[in-house]
Amino acid sequence: MATAALEPEIDTRVHYLNVNYGIRSWLLTTDHKRIALLYLASITVFFFVGGAAAVLMRLNLIEPQGLLLQPETYNKLFSMHGIMMVFFFMIPSIPAVLGNFLVPMMVGARDLAFPKLNLLSWYVFMLGGLFELYAIFAGGVDSGWTFYTPLSTTYLNTHVMAAALGVFIAGFASILTGLNFIVTIHKMRAPGLTWFRMPLFLWAIYATSIIMVLGTPVVAITLVLVALERAFHVGVFDPALGGDPILFQHLFWFYSHPAVYIMILPSMGVVSELITCFSRKRIFGYSFIAFSSVAIAVISFLVWGHHMFVSGQSVYAGLVFSALSFAVAIPSAIKVFNWTATMYKGSVSYDAPMLYAMGFIGLFTMGGLTGLFLASLATDVHLHDTYFVIAHFHYIMVGGAVMGYLGGIHFWWPKISGRLYPDGWARFAALVIFIGFNLTFFPQFMLGYLGMPRRYPIYPQEFQVMNVMSSAGASILGVGYLIPLVYLIWSMRYGPVAGPNPWGAKGLEWQTPSPPPTENFERTPTVTEEAYAYGNAAQEAHVG
């Protein structure tokens, strides 16, 4: 083993991974870095559970009559896929893993403001996850991740209650995480770290936290009402009782549209870090990117009605929500243009994280632009609830948010694990994912325009060609996601030692050894320069 010679070197130093051992030291830890890893392990499991459901669905859709599944089973699979991916993978992905790991280090603190709450949030999250797993293994739930009433409250006899309560519980994990980040960013910044010297990742996480804190409780109380309505046959959403099912949609989307920005904003933050590091350039238009994050967070709360253009919402409200939805396009466009401009006259390298970042910009651009079709009233009427919508939000959430997440994981993996992964494999995986993704989801735009509704296990013959193309792409995409899992786990033991700053990156987190010591910094750092000051003298810690 070539790496064996390096083992002693890394083991002589005490860091957060080897400071103590045993299950107890992990399950009772209040170290934000260890909690980040607890989250990483949990959401990876949930991701592959949700992914397995997607694979079965795509397999089934090869045949118009359904290749292997009964409609009931298919319905359970897409519900499980949605619930797992949205509430148990995407929403905690970057905030709870990379955010937990990086926020204290980026602000130069020893930990988050409330370490015990942070650990509590993981337990709450896992409790929610257990409810979900129970719902799945006790027979499944077929309400869709949207829990629309009165279907969910009165007509389904699957495990809707367990699933809804699971989401309700996991919501509090999200609230605690967001609360912790806001307080940490406000109160615990190192000396010299002013708001406009902060890395843009922190701005993005801050904006995300606003949504988590102010949006999540609304969906929580809504799901409580669904549960009460199911248990006691009273409530506010059942038309048979004088209630209104459209009110449920208002309350649900008040959170669940901003939730999309919980997924994409942190990815945008990650991309700002990656583009600068691998172009060796300061970010183009720092304050525009920073403020556009906050603008997106605020506007995201004003647009939920575009999920309801055909629901029976009033024409007037449709016009209001359409106009406000278009407004979100502008801060998003500002970000994309600024990232692209950052590469201008840079020193661009093709390391794996950069490939993910470039993939993110391209796919997010497509996802964002196709959103215009759905903000526009007349076209949304035709495209609503078709595969066009599926394609659009997968371009945002998978093409965008997951690419950003993977880019971030690859970028900070040397910091997290202290090891390097095989670069060739990583670039290959990035390419496979990019290609597989487009093959899977681009045909779905066309399917949607042709009129294929979503959540259809059985469909008319004429949609088959596109469905087969999409399923073929999905098989490539699935493989693409497995490759990083293998080499990242491999690298934990066999990867070469990374050193404190393998990318020559700026930022406080790179000024401490990899893996960092439990208290992050030997002494509280002082910040004297702006973020991304790549023009200044190179880091002395640079490992060539």
């Binding site: 629309y148 038309p239 106009a323 020193s347 060539g544």
Partner: protein
């Protein structure tokens, strides 16, 4: 061109073309910006690739004119998109006065369609070519959604209320319609065909089949069966003749227009809106009357208005 690989759904209604034009415009804008971003990224990535390990980049802080440009251009484009999409939507949400009305009831997992003349269909809808058709829709259980891709129309079918769409078919033939709102196990089987016929053929079709009662006729029978006449025929309750589309004053002082939704509410929840001058004595018919019967009663009440007008002439 590509048989078996269509790239556009058929344009078979008067509004399809307008929606498609907006769609093409949006596609053009999207393709343009996607190309700009992709090509720029590729160009920068190649042109400014790292050539040596210690290469330094030129540091640029930003550019206010550029920031303004790429804020204002999207702003202008989105304003155009908003106005364009909204004008079409408003036009498409207003059925012409002279529309043929057809009633749609969604239930798990089938569509029941009723023509006022009495013909009923399941998962099949016959409509005349070149005449505006208005669908008044409701659901017996959960939320469904009536979606005809070739006509570019879609609307949720919500229990407890009426929603409407309208279209005017421009091509004869058979077109799919789908339930687009997930409604339970057999959601994907809740679909059917719209059959567009030349007006003559349509009339012939309407009068064919098993000779059924007209909807208003069926409503008249219900009027007898539920003994509505004991009050509404004797002055104890508001009379029905000429009631539909008139404005009535409520006991609260409010004025409401009598439409489908109002009639529905008054049959199911009589005390919700009491017409001024009448005692609140009507019992609720909730649970005793089906969605179909409701529509028949409403058709009957509507028909009373038409008769009056004809006799007035």
């Amino acid at each position: 061109m590509f048989q078996g690989l269509p790239i556009r759904p058929e344009q078979a209604s008067t509004i399809a073309k307008g929606v498609d034009h907006l769609y093409y415009f949006l596609t053009a804008v999207d393709l343009f910006f996607t190309a700009v971003i992709f090509l720029t990224i590729f160009y920068f990535a190649i042109r400014y690739r790292r050539r040596s390990k210690d290469e330094k980049a030129t540091q640029i802080e930003g550019s206010l004119p550029l920031e303004i440009a790429w804020s204002v251009v999207p702003l202008v484009l989105t304003v155009v998109m908003f106005l364009w999409g909204s004008s079409l939507y408003i036009r498409n949400s207003r059925p012409p006065e002279a529309s043929t009305e057809i009633f749609v009831i969604g239930k798990q997992w089938m569509w029941q369609l009723q023509h006022p003349e009495g013909r009923r269909e399941i998962n099949e809808l016959h409509v005349p070519l070149g005449r505006p058709v208005k669908l008044t829709m409701t659901s017996e259980d959960v939320i469904h959604d009536f979606f005809i891709p070739s006509f570019r129309v879609k609307k949720d079918v919500v229990p407890g209320r009426y929603s409407t769409i309208w279209f005017e078919a421009t091509k004869t033939g058979s077109f799919h319609f789908f339930c687009a709102q997930y409604c339970g196990t057999n959601h994907s089987l809740m679909r059917g065909e719209v059959i567009v016929m030349k007006p003559d053929d349509y009339e012939r079709w309407l009068s064919g089949g098993v000779q059924a009662q007209t909807m208003a006729g069926a409503g008249a029978a219900l009027y007898e069966r539920f003994a509505c006449i004991t009050c509404h025929g004797t002055g104890k309750g508001p009379p029905f003749v000429n009631l539909y589309a008139s404005t009535v004053k409520l006991s609260t002082g409010e004025a409401v227009v009598v439409d489908d939704a109002y009639l529905r509410e008054s049959i199911l929840y009589p005390s919700a809106k009491i017409v001024a001058g009448y005692p609140p004595i009507m019992p609720t018919f909730k649970g005793q009357i089906t969605e179909e019967e409701l529509l028949e009663l409403i058709s009957y009440i509507k028909s009373l208005k038409t008769e009056e007008r004809q006799t007035a002439k």
